[in-house]
Amino acid sequence: MQIVVCLKQIPDLQQIRIKRDTREPVLEGLPFLLGDMDKNALEEAVRIVEQRGGKVTALALGSPKLRDTIKEALAMGADEALLLIDPAFADSDTMTTAKILAKAIEKREYDLILCGEGSTDNYSGQVPSRLAEILGLPQVTYVRQLEFTEGGLRATRDMEEALEIVEVSLPALVSVTSEISEPRLPSLIQILKAAKKPLQEWTSEDLALSAHEVGKEASSLEVISNLAPEQERKNITLEGEVDEVVEQLTDAFTREGVIAR
């Protein structure tokens, strides 16, 4: 079983600082992590290969920081990493990103492609579907459980109010939710061993993509602004005995419509 897992590196959202005057997030200097659901997908891939044999390839597109960020995927059990790093790729929208990833995947053999349902930062959730479309693969979304059948996979889809079970033949693309697995915390030894695993890098040239097929120029989506919501604090201090204060607090919450009486 050859599995390709697509992973996105995202800034550590727990460390983001918001500029007070402009409400802009300060992204400069933030450490990067792998997307949460991407790690769920990777964990599932590693488990499948542990049971059935095969190979897991971690595929990621991003800044040179990826070289560091991807180590976590290798430590978690990916057998190799394939990184798509090129300044020309910067500011690619979801369509262009899917196009670039597809080019890379086409050069590989694969039975299954696993993605997270959405990324932890923007959560537009478009790349998996676009990727399946470009590669001409069947796709199953919102998957919380995977089993192997004779001819392919049986997937349980999370429809919030209901579960849907579908079957799909391979090769296929599956995007997963966080319920599918609990990503392992790699041990120090695994982290050390990861440093020795194969890591390949491709640029736009390796993918036979020209400069105007990638990056901002090729993207139809334009980000106009990215701001933190305006926060207004009421700064009300309640004073008195505990019972009184609780009463005042529930009143205040009811008035604000936070709770209903």
Binding site: Q14, Q15, R17, G29
Partner: protein
Amino acid sequence: MSIDAKLALDAFKIDEESHIQIDQTRCKERCQTRYCLYVCPAQVYTLGQEGEILIRYEGCLECGACTIACDTTLAWNYPRGGFGVQYRFG
């Protein structure tokens, strides 16, 4: 600026388990000075109603001043890797 407002400026990754332990009985019996209340720059330690020491380990800045001052019962370690305060300026 209150200590809470100061600490709110920082990024904390909070472990479910406290990295600070205290033996309340020993503390009450043996310690009159309660240095921890004053040497901690994050006011992790406050006095409870029964004279016990309350610990807000979540806001610990991991300096270790409390353990240097306390010779009674404080068991302090650094939080596990990847937890605790993460400075963005330093």
